[in-house]
Chain length 297, copies 2
Amino acid sequence: MTDLAAALAEAAAEIDAALDRVIPQSEGDESRLFEAMRYAAIGGGKRLRGFLVLEGAKQFGVGRSAALRAAAAVEMLHAYSLVHDDLPAMDDDDLRRGKPTVHIAFDEATAVLAGDALQANAFYVLSHEETHADPAVRAELCHCLARAAGPRGMCGGQMLDMLAEQATAPLEESAIGRLQLLKTGKLIEFAAEAGAILGKAPPTLRHALSAYGRDLGAAFQIADDLLDLTATPEQAGKATGKDAAAGKATLLGLLGPERAKLQAERLAQQAAHHLDSFGERADLLRALATYAIERRN
Amino acid sequence: MTDLAAALAEAAAEIDAALDRVIPQSEGDESRLFEAMRYAAIGGGKRLRGFLVLEGAKQFGVGRSAALRAAAAVEMLHAYSLVHDDLPAMDDDDLRRGKPTVHIAFDEATAVLAGDALQANAFYVLSHEETHADPAVRAELCHCLARAAGPRGMCGGQMLDMLAEQATAPLEESAIGRLQLLKTGKLIEFAAEAGAILGKAPPTLRHALSAYGRDLGAAFQIADDLLDLTATPEQAGKATGKDAAAGKATLLGLLGPERAKLQAERLAQQAAHHLDSFGERADLLRALATYAIERRN
């Protein structure tokens, strides 16, 4: 566990440095936009998605600089989704990663724009020659990210989540699973798979990583919901207890804490099992599956 | 002029059909999102950007189906920017293309999400194998669109526009030019250039088209501002007179109608001049430069 904690911290620092390189520096009158993008994306966060990119890339000997650019792109996409989710018209949250949210620290219009610009910048970075010399790799990265982020991925899941809050009857287990696969699972799946794309891995290994990402993401989601129930805002770095209060559609709400925890454990084991064809180099990914269900923040 | 009007109408119908194919059909619980995307992107609008893609592609014998997919991607990107610009926190507009804006017809959260999903879908379509067999072309399309849409393009221009409204001193001519180049010019430039990318055109011809797009975009912007001053909401399909009332930074406001009109004419001539290396096949693009400054809506 200590190895993983150190590796996560090291990756987070490297990813922050990569984000610093790929988000424009403050200059010119529009620097308020760049500052808001930096505020949203740099510093804080577990960097789970970026870490998955880096560790996936490691399995195939991908260069660190390319892997870090892809990790930064995935983290920009994730940061944009948080900025927009926190907007007054959406979840209306004031606190994120222990800091005021972007629309509080700046203003609502700047938050909308910063999110929009972070999304565009993610595709800019992935499609850039510096990320990979082979344009087929760059096109594939853009394609898979766009699918994970778009109407049949994250945005579709967010819509389902909003509708679930307004629904009169609670969702069934399969509907909640689909909601969470779309809302958060698809991007985590892409993060786990991105290193295989960069490394032009054989399809079986690429699919093993994306299956790992899918199960890991589901386990993390349940663990997040359990934390939302039990952690203080200080521990979580954001408002807690809101999901239960808002009647959010979660497996936790449907199954209760005991069964939800068992399900998370089953998913984490299943995630690790997908890595059976990988050697020692995947040990941190295996440890991450354990961490997913044991973490306290 | 009649030829151009007919060609524009034909292109608009074809682009609507392409958008209908690339935006998910209503199905499943998240269809509210798809409906909002369709509402925002399909029907209405001059399709200037899509038309530029199609006519640019024609110069290099690009297949119609590929050109239409790229045109649809550019129009989705443009539609997303309008949906977000119209939000209460931004320009707070109720009317767009003669219809209630997305946040009025649906709700604010759905409008944020629909814009986000349209942006992702634009990259999804450009990076898809169906758009071009050569991945280098797909990667280049994504790269150039992301640059035009991101912090150093449209989003940066939008930020400048917001700041200009709050500024105490009016912007100088060069600052207004830069604002408009970023806010609307870069995407129009990309639209003009996309056909050359699809057709793997020689750099000189590709640059001629992007220079044409840049000047055309600037001419259109001045003409838009003049229309905002003189047209009724019915003619424009959106609220008019708001720019002047809001003290928006426009060349029209700085130069006055007479000089602004002269400048638009100069830009339109310059735009057409960039097409000198092209033959008869560029006649519709030439006619478009004239139309830019003569249109009434």
